[in-house]
């Protein structure tokens, strides 16, 4: 007999978004406040794990059609690519730059290339944890 997880599933629908928002917040706050790519990535995968617990693996795979192994690769590419990008400006590997930039609509922004690197960390962490959890979950 299948149990009815309606409460869990309904709560999950709301809570997982809150966690995702929090993860994004933590990620973007990272440069100035506690947080960053690593914790952000872990929390994002926490949200997905919650989905996995409430639904089954197949449903989550359908709604989130992402191969997390590729996410790891993309993350690593981001990190290495940020590093290589510094060569274009004739500076050593992984030299970051930052500055104030005025963009229409958004207004004046403080941008930092370190964030690109952090995106790499974020994606790699999400990809790794999700690969591990999904693989173990699928294996009997």
């Amino acid at each position: 007999m299948k149990t009815n997880d309606i409460i869990l599933q309904t709560v999950t629908k709301i809570v997982s978004f809150i966690i995702l928002m929090f993860a994004l917040h933590i990620f973007f706050a990272g440069h100035n406040n506690p947080g960053g790519g690593f914790v952000g990535g872990l929390l994002t995968s926490g949200a997905i794990v919650l989905l996995l617990l409430a639904y089954d693996i197949k449903t989550v795979a359908n709604s989130l059609p992402i191969d997390f192994k590729i996410t790891v690769a993309v993350g690593l590419l981001f990190a290495v690519g940020t590093g290589l990008g510094s060569f274009l400006f004739d500076v050593p590997f992984l030299t970051h730059a930052f500055g104030e930039l005025t963009i229409p609509i958004l207004g004046e922004l403080h941008l930092n290339t370190a964030v690109l690197f952090d995106i790499g960390v974020y994606l790699a962490v999400v990809g790794s944890t999700m690969t591990i959890i999904q693989t173990i979950g699928e294996g009997e």
Partner: protein, 800 residues
């Protein structure tokens, strides 16, 4: 590259073409090409004969100049003598092997490749001036000898003999290399010529005696001196041409060459005299005594070779005494060196011919066992004649060349008595006595070899083939050698002026000033001297022993088998093998726990030792922060959780307790103001506890007893040791801060240079982003690894 270098490398280069010649020109026996090459080389070296009396030839090509290793080819009397022996006997052996080895049945391609390799290596040994080059060629001779002994590799005895000779000679070779390196350390050069010129400076060096002993080890193993002679009888499993060439005329004399070559460096030492002369004379007697009991012709010859090499060695040792007398003209001991060189030539001639004779007997009758042979004199008259010449020369009977060198040997040994250095006045009298006993046995086995084979009853029923005289081509090389025995016996002085004197000069250059000549004259009849009476005594007593052999021969059986050196060698090998296996099994027991204990004990041991040695322990309370209530409480919690992990009965409890430890650590991070660490630690701890629970859930049902971790005193002690030592190091490191932390830089520059306010994150992605890059790579690898482990189950796929 000079012609001389080409001559040295010619056999090695020619060896490359041998397999082609063997494959393409099947009609012609491959040996003819080798024969041609060695004859050419022999003639090439002959033309140096006129030069070396006046000057020495030296040619250099660079090999590794930065290390002082150059291939300097150097020709003086001694090198030339050996080069002539190698190429001369080499051509005869090649000729002999053409008739000995069948073109159809044997793998001639390999045989001649090995033989040429050996010839080239041997030429390299005797002609190089650089010690390292000499060593290189030296090992190449060991190696090619190994291949030649194991030529019939399908025979177990061949493989045994090859392995034995390899182990012993390479052991000596490595020791010798050590000696060479010590010489280099003392003098700063690898050139023998230069080292000789520096001899007087290095005799007092602490490395001098070790270098001497190591070099002698190399020479003794190669030249089969006691107790390293045991490989030579077993090397007789090689084809007979190989035995004739390597194990009588050339390779076993490499050690002699080395001793002679380095005599100018070491000979002034008493140690050298005692070691060389003492081991030589003992080897002479021991081997000749043992030769008598052998029943295999080649075994007799092998022991005889050992004994003759001992003779030459002892002569070189006595010759070393010559250095202590400055007057050349009435120097008795120079004659010993002279005799050594002379006997070296003689031995090569008669022993080469005897081996070939034995090969013929083996080839024509199918056996080498003297108990089966007999009465071959009428059937093989030519072979018998050669054997007679060879054995009589070996026994030291007139009018052959062995007689002359044996007389000179006895004369040298008698002269030793009058030596008044190195305590010789007390022990010197032993030398002629032992030499005489050895010579008596030499006489006995020589007669045994000759008469047991060729006289007595003919026993055709015991032989595998119907014997008949060998083909002429097979007889030719021993005839040539036998003829040389006679020629050198009657006209010894053709040798003395042309080659022996330059060779003796090369052995003792310090004695001979420029332009001065050591004039030697070998007289056939030297008057009524002690050595003549000794020879007469040898013949009489030897004949008596030969006749009464059946009665006293039983004493050989009295020698316990367990005291023989072969037994020591075999047992040593077995013991070494089983011992090392036992040793490995005793500590490599496959248990991770044991290895962890080794690792941790080494860890504790090394750290404790260095702390005590450096007196590094210190503990100050200066600069410590005050301990607050929260720290104490959290400390108690974490301590309690840790203890729970250790004593918990259920694994589940341990996992929960581990989680508790993790969360408490997170709380510590809170307390010590590390918010990034808190976040990460909390999430990671949650994930890892979940993974632990997963692992726990999937534990196999069998053996799933719940029980406490068993108490083991070793574990407890090791764990306590590690804990204590790490704590001590932490205290000491804290109390010994040498300089300020670099963190101030980050505090000042995080916002300004990296545009961020979270210092931890800025360090992670900006200042030290390189580390982070690889850490996420580690994460990725871990994820892919887990994916691979779970998805890729090759063994299960095979089951399907």
């Amino acid at each position: 590259m000079s012609l001389l270098h080409i001559a040295i490398f010619a056999p090695l280069l020619f060896a490359i073409f041998i397999p082609f010649l063997f494959k393409r020109l099947r009609l012609i026996h491959t040996g003819w090409f080798v024969f041609g090459l060695s004859i050419i080389l022999f003639i090439y070296f002959l033309q140096f004969l006129s030069d070396i009396r006046d000057y020495e030839i030296q040619e250099t090509i660079d090999w590794i100049p930065s290390l002082g290793i150059n291939f300097t080819a150097y020709v003086d009397g001694l090198s030339l003598l050996f080069a002539l022996l190698i190429t001369g006997i080499g051509s005869l052996v090649a000729l002999y092997s053409i008739y000995y080895l069948s073109k159809e049945k044997e793998d001639l391609g390999s045989f001649y490749v090995y033989l040429l390799m050996f010839m080239g290596a041997m030429l390299g040994v005797v002609l190089s001036d650089n010690l390292i080059v000499l060593y290189t060629f030296w090992e190449l001779t060991s190696f090619s000898s190994f291949l030649l002994i194991g030529y019939w590799y399908h025979k177990e005895r061949s493989r045994y003999g090859a392995q034995k000779s390899m182990l012993i000679t390479v052991f000596g070779g490595l020791a010798m290399l050590g000696g060479f390196l010590l010489l280099y350390l003392m003098t700063g050069t690898f050139s023998i010529r230069e080292i000789v010129s520096m001899t007087s400076d290095i005799t007092a060096d602490p490395f001098f005696i070790p270098a001497l002993v190591l070099v002698l080890l190399g020479a003794f193993t190669k030249s089969a001196q006691f107790p390293f002679h045991i490989w030579l009888p077993d090397a007789m499993e090689a084809p007979t041409p190989v035995s004739a060439y390597l194990h009588s005329a050339t390779m076993v004399k490499a050690g002699i060459y080395l001793v002679a070559r380095l005599s100018p460096i070491f000979a002034a030492q008493g140690t050298w005299f005692w070691l060389v002369a003492g081991f030589g004379i003992f080897t002479l007697t021991w081997a000749s005594f043992n030769a008598v009991k052998q029943t295999d012709l080649k075994a007799i010859l092998a022991y005889s070779t050992v004994s003759q090499l001992g003779l030459i060695m002892s002569l070189l040792g006595v010759g070393a005494a010559a250095l202590h007398y400055s007057f050349l003209d009435d120097n008795l001991y120079m004659a010993a060196t002279f005799a050594a060189v002379f006997h070296l030539i003689n031995h090569a001639t008669f022993k080469g011919s005897l081996f070939m004779v034995v090969g013929i007997v083996d080839h024509e009758t199918g056996t080498r066992d003297i108990r089966k042979l007999g009465g071959l004199m009428q059937i093989m008259p030519i072979t018998f004649t050669i054997a007679l010449i060879g054995t009589f020369s070996m026994a030291g009977l007139p009018p052959f060349n062995g007689f002359l060198s044996k007389e000179m040997f006895l004369a040298a040994m008698v002269n030793v008595i009058s030596l008044d250095i190195f305590n010789m006045e007390t022990w010197g009298v032993l030398f002629p006595v032992i030499a005489w006993i050895g010579s008596v046995f030499t006489f006995v086995y020589s007669m045994l070899l000759l008469f047991k084979t060729f006289t007595g009853d003919f026993k055709p029923e015991k032989l595998e083939k119907k014997p008949h005289e060998a083909p002429f081509g097979m007889l030719l090389p021993p005839i040539i050698l036998g003829a040389l025995v006679v020629v050198f016996g009657f006209f010894p002085n053709i040798l003395s002026a042309s080659i022996i004197e330059p060779a003796a000069k090369a052995i003792a250059p310090v004695l001979i000033d420029a332009g001065q000549e050591y004039n030697s004259h070998i007289s056939f009849w030297h008057g009524f001297t002690p050595e003549l009476y000794m020879t007469i005594g040898i013949i009489i007593f030897g004949a008596f022993l030969y006749v009464t052999l059946p009665t006293w021969g039983k004493i050989y059986r009295r020698f316990p088998e367990k005291l023989s050196i072969n037994y020591f060698y075999d047992q040593g090998l077995i013991r070494a093998e089983s011992g090392s296996r036992g040793l490995t099994n005793s500590y490599m027991n496959g248990s991770i726990r044991t290895y962890m204990i080794y690792i941790l004990i080494s860890f504790v041991g090394i750290l404790t030792f260095s702390i005590i040695r450096k007196d590094a322990f210190s503990f100050t309370t200066e600069g410590l922060a005050p301990i607050g209530l929260y720290e104490v409480v959290l400390g108690i919690i974490i301590f309690g959780a840790s203890i729970t992990i250790l004593v918990a009965k259920s694994r589940l409890t341990s996992i929960i307790a581990l989680g508790a430890v993790g969360y408490t650590v997170a709380l510590f991070f809170v307390l010590f103001r590390a918010p990034d660490l808190v976040l990460t630690q909390l999430v990671i701890e949650t994930i890892s506890v979940a993974l632990f629970l997963l692992a726990f859930y999937h534990l196999p049902k069998i053996n799933r007893k719940e029980e406490r971790i068993g108490f083991k005193l070793t574990n407890a002690l090791v764990a306590a040791g590690v804990g204590v030592i790490v704590t001590i190091i932490a205290f000491s490191a804290l109390s010994n801060r040498l300089f300020e932390s670099i963190s101030q830089y980050y505090v000042e520059n995080t916002a300004e240079k990296a545009g961020g306010f979270n210092m931890v994150n800025v360090i992670l992605v900006d200042f030290r982003g390189f580390d982070t890059m690889f850490e996420i790579a580690v994460l990725g690898i871990a994820a892919l690894g887990i994916y691979g482990m779970i998805k890729l189950r090759l063994s299960r796929r095979e089951d399907l």
